[in-house]
Amino acid sequence: MQSLTAFYTAGAVGADERGLIAITAVLMLFVFIPVVSLTLFFAWRYRESNAEARYSPKWSHSNLLEVFLWGGPIVIIAILGTLTWISTHRLDPYNSLASENQDPVQVEAIAMDWKWLFVYPQYNVAAVNELAMPVNTPISLHLTSDTVMTAIMIPRMGSQIYAMSGMRTQLHLLPTQTGDFMGKNYQYNGRGFASERFHARSMTDEQFKSWIKKAKASGQRLDEARYAELTKPSQPEGVTYFSPVKPHLLNYVIKQYHTGSPRNRITRTAER
């Protein structure tokens, strides 16, 4: 059952969504069970060879029945609609998540062909294909894309959100368990799509501190030139660390798409 990641999650948002799926599924069974059982029953009962069954070839209208036929679905949809109103506002990926723990960790995520760059402006480090998160701490992701439309998703952790060039989207996460979870782009973006994955590592505060130290120690400088090189289509195997990182990198990437350059920046060699 643990493999049903939409149900068994390691984050606060995910647990909320699991409850929502369960309630909806139960409500839907109130439609499903009567429809299936009555259809099968009618098919059997009113089969042509059954002379016992009543036959009313002209019966085609009943006000009372119509009230129930319309009323039933209306009631169910009214309940679901209310549930939707509440849950959509509560589960909005833009909502920052409250926690007893300290201020949120800010992360800037930049989608590229076919990898993710995660920048930690508070710590002046960045990593390709590794998103480190201290457990029970709210994570505030600001996303953009330096390529075609992309969608970030950590199935065990929470919601999916698109990343688009020239624009900023947001996603908030709150890991409640430690572990190494699969993160992925869910929006098809070409040849490297299937194997484009990153590690979403949820860790204790101490581990996170030493992760920052490791990144700082092993990192290379991420300036404009290095960044330009990084955006070239590639599928890096391992994780690369950067430190220091060009300040306001996310804004820099977004603004590239607002200059009047004659060509769209998104270029790639022919698919075949």
Partner: protein, 684 residues
């Protein structure tokens, strides 16, 4: 001279594609060779290619749909085989680009070149006779629609041999489908296949909208129309409103790709979100365009095979209208994860769920029609029962996906893939198969074999369940759609089950092919001499099978819903009129065929930047339109004597059927057996 076309465009390094091309070439050579050998070119040209007869156009639409069903299904088999064998440590047998062409081609073909031609074909065959008309309002335009659809289909076929098809998915999201990210001809093939066939569909929409509003038999008020005609009318209104959005979106994408515009690019003020909105403003109504006529078929079939009036006729009409209206208000649910605020998501989520209300009511009405009926489990009814049971699952998961909180978890996953196949296969495809088996005897004069039909039904039903239920599980396990390979070993067994399910569907399709061949072989035994093989309730069953060119020798007068049933009950169904009058019918014309050919040439020229060829194609279209517009001689007359000869022959057959006891033999009660009103028969 040849734009960007060169010999390199032929993918001779790809064995699989070259095999498919060779297969296509062999089929083509066999078709051309046998037509020549049998000396049938004249017949083919005169009776079919240039025909403006709605019945023949309908049949040609359905032939196109079945060809593409086979191609689209082969794509599906290949994808299932790839995903089953591309688990951790394996890469399967397909490179990523080829896999992307497969899922793009599969979606494009199944929606635009299987579902749409099936629906338009069946509407062509059934709607004019259902309203007591001799043809559509604009028969020549109908021929243009057909050949534009063929031109679009032919471009997809051409992309197999010359160049490649799009890798951007059937939705072609920008900026991935823009020139800088995707400079190959694939996206252009996709654009022009959709654009050309889409204009054909828009013309069909106008045509049937006018036909249904203007060509109804005397006495057939709107609220007496057969329910299938109602769904066709509402669908055509949707076509006319929705398809222009696609035409404009594709036009803007073309300007981006060809002339460096920036409507949907990432930079220079382009807005990729605009493309997605425009696409789904067409795309969501399109989903209902392909489902509503299927609902119409289910309504006809349920009433006919339960031998009972349809429950809640008015409710059905209003529910269909509500669905159509709401379908234009839900498009944002295709991208809840694009970052718009919770209020906007909530509004579109609730409008989506509200569609569940009229849809649910329709299902209850079909059940209420079965209640106290006399149900005959013939093939069309089997497809209908399969639909009700399986579609309910798809509806449930649809409501789940409509809740943004859940969609955030399963968007772009296999759960979504399972959901839309769960509504489109039991909904549209089963509906069209029900319609195919239901109206086949009307179109060809003999029924389809029951035994093989049942096998096909079980193959599809069981195969569908085995192939798609695992995808729900995979979606819940976090598997994204469109994966050429993956690293999670837990997914592999489910993908094997899904692949096995696809093989069971293959069995179902094979049974349908065998069914057609067996039925042609036994056509005398399966012959429908009366024109009313099922105890039908609507006017098309008042015609002979196959119908005369003019459908009705005398236009019937309608007094209520289920017009033909009423005639049978009053004993007026088979009275031969004392005399006939001349009938004016539209003449065949090659102009539609030429316009279609011109559209193909134009599309091919633009795709490959061969501008002189594009201009040539465009001028061909223009010239044939002008030529046709200047032709006054567009009708011919069937003299009354000829009508009498044809009708006498029909009544001779009817008398024969009465002696054979054809209808009585099917053993159903509660309908007027044919023999019962033999009094109305005065052959000759």
């Amino acid at each position: 001279m040849l734009g960007r076309l060169s010999l390199d465009a032929i993918p001779y390094d790809n064995g699989i594609i070259m095999f498919a091309v060779a297969l296509m070439a062999i089929v083509g050579v066999v078709a051309v060779g046998s037509t020549t050998y049998l000396g049938k070119w004249g017949y083919l040209y005169k009776e079919w290619l240039t025909s403006v007869d709605h019945k023949k156009i309908g049949i040609m639409y359905i032939i196109l749909a079945f060809v593409f069903l086979l191609r689209g299904f082969v794509d599906a088999l290949m994808m299932r085989a790839q995903q089953a064998t591309a688990g951790p440590g394996h890469s399967g047998y397909l490179p990523p680009e080829h896999f992307a062409e497969l899922f793009t081609g599969h979606g494009t073909m199944m929606i635009l070149f299987v579902a749409m031609p099936l629906i338009i074909g069946i509407i062509n065959i059934a709607v004019p006779p259902q309203i007591g008309a001799r043809d559509v309002a604009f028969p020549f335009m109908n021929s243009i629609s057909l050949w534009l659809t063929y031109a679009g289909g032919l471009l997809i076929m051409a992309s197999l041999a010359v160049g490649q098809f799009s890798t951007a998915g059937w939705t072609g999201y920008a900026p991935f489908s823009e020139y800088p990210a995707n400079p190959s001809t694939g996206v252009d093939y996709w654009i022009w296949a959709l654009q050309i066939s889409g204009i054909g569909t828009t013309l069909t929409g106008i045509n049937f909208l006018v036909t249904i509003l203007r060509e109804r038999a005397p006495g057939m008020t709107l609220m007496r129309m057969p329910i299938f005609t109602w769904t066709a009318l509402i669908t055509m209104i949707m076509v006319v409103l929705a398809f222009p959005a696609l035409t404009v979106a594709l036009g803007m994408l073309t300007l981006d790709r060809l002339f460096d515009f920036h409507f949907f690019t990432g930079g220079m003020g382009g807005n990729q979100m605009m493309y997605i909105n425009m696409f789904w403003i067409w795309g969501h109504p399109e989903v209902y365009i392909v489902i509503l006529p299927a609902f119409g078929v289910f309504s006809e079939v349920t009433a006919t095979f339960c031998n009972k009036r349809l429950f809640g006729y008015r409710t059905m009409v209003y529910a269909t209208m509500v669905i159509a209206l709401l379908s234009f208000t839900v498009w944002v649910h295709h991208f809840f994860t694009m970052g718009q605020g919770p209020l906007r998501n909530t509004v579109f989520a609730i409008s989506t769920m509200v569609i569940g209300i009229p849809t649910g009511v329709k299902i209850y009405n079909w059940m209420a029609t079965m209640f106290r009926g006399r149900i005959e489990f013939k093939q069309p009814m089997l497809w209908t029962l399969g639909f009700i049971l399986l579609f309910t699952v798809g509806g449930m998961t649809g409501v789940m996906l409509a809740i943004p909180g859940i969609d955030y978890k399963v968007h772009n996953s296999e759960f979504l893939v399972a959901h839309f196949h769960n509504v489109l296969i039991p909904g549209t495809i089963f509906g069209m198969f029900a319609g195919y088996t239901y109206w086949f005897p009307k179109a060809f004069g003999f029924r389809l074999d029951e035994q093989w039909g049942r096998r096909a039904f079980w193959g599809w039903t069981i195969g569908f369940t085995v192939a798609f239920m695992p995808l729900y599980v995979l979606g819940a396990m976090g598997m994204p759609r469109r994966m050429v390979s993956y690293s999670n070993p837990a997914w592999t067994p489910w993908l094997w089950v899904a692949a096995f399910g696809a093989l069971i569907v293959l069995y179902g399709i094979a049974c349908q092919v065998v069914q057609l061949l067996v039925s042609i072989k036994n056509r005398d035994r399966l012959a429908d001499l009366t024109g009313d093989p099922w105890g039908g309730r609507t006017l098309e069953w008042a015609m002979s099978s196959p119908p005369a060119e003019y459908n009705f020798a005398v236009i019937p007068t309608v007094h209520g819903i289920d017009a033909f049933m009423e005639m049978k009950e009053q004993g007026t169904a088979y009275q031969q009129p004392a005399e006939y009058s001349d009938i004016h019918m539209p003449k065949s014309t090659p102009a539609g065929l030429v316009i279609g050919a011109g559209a193909f040439v134009f599309g091919f020229g633009v795709i490959w930047w061969i501008w002189w060829l594009a201009i040539l194609g465009g001028l061909t279209m223009l010239a044939s339109v002008i030529w046709r517009a200047c032709t006054d001689d567009v009708e011919f007359t069937i003299p009354a004597a000829e009508v009498k000869r044809v009708e006498d022959e029909r009544f001779r057959k009817l008398a024969l059927a009465g002696q054979r006891g054809d209808v009585i033999d099917t053993g159903s009660r509660g309908r007027m057996p044919f023999g019962g009103d033999m009094t109305g028969l005065h052959p000759g």
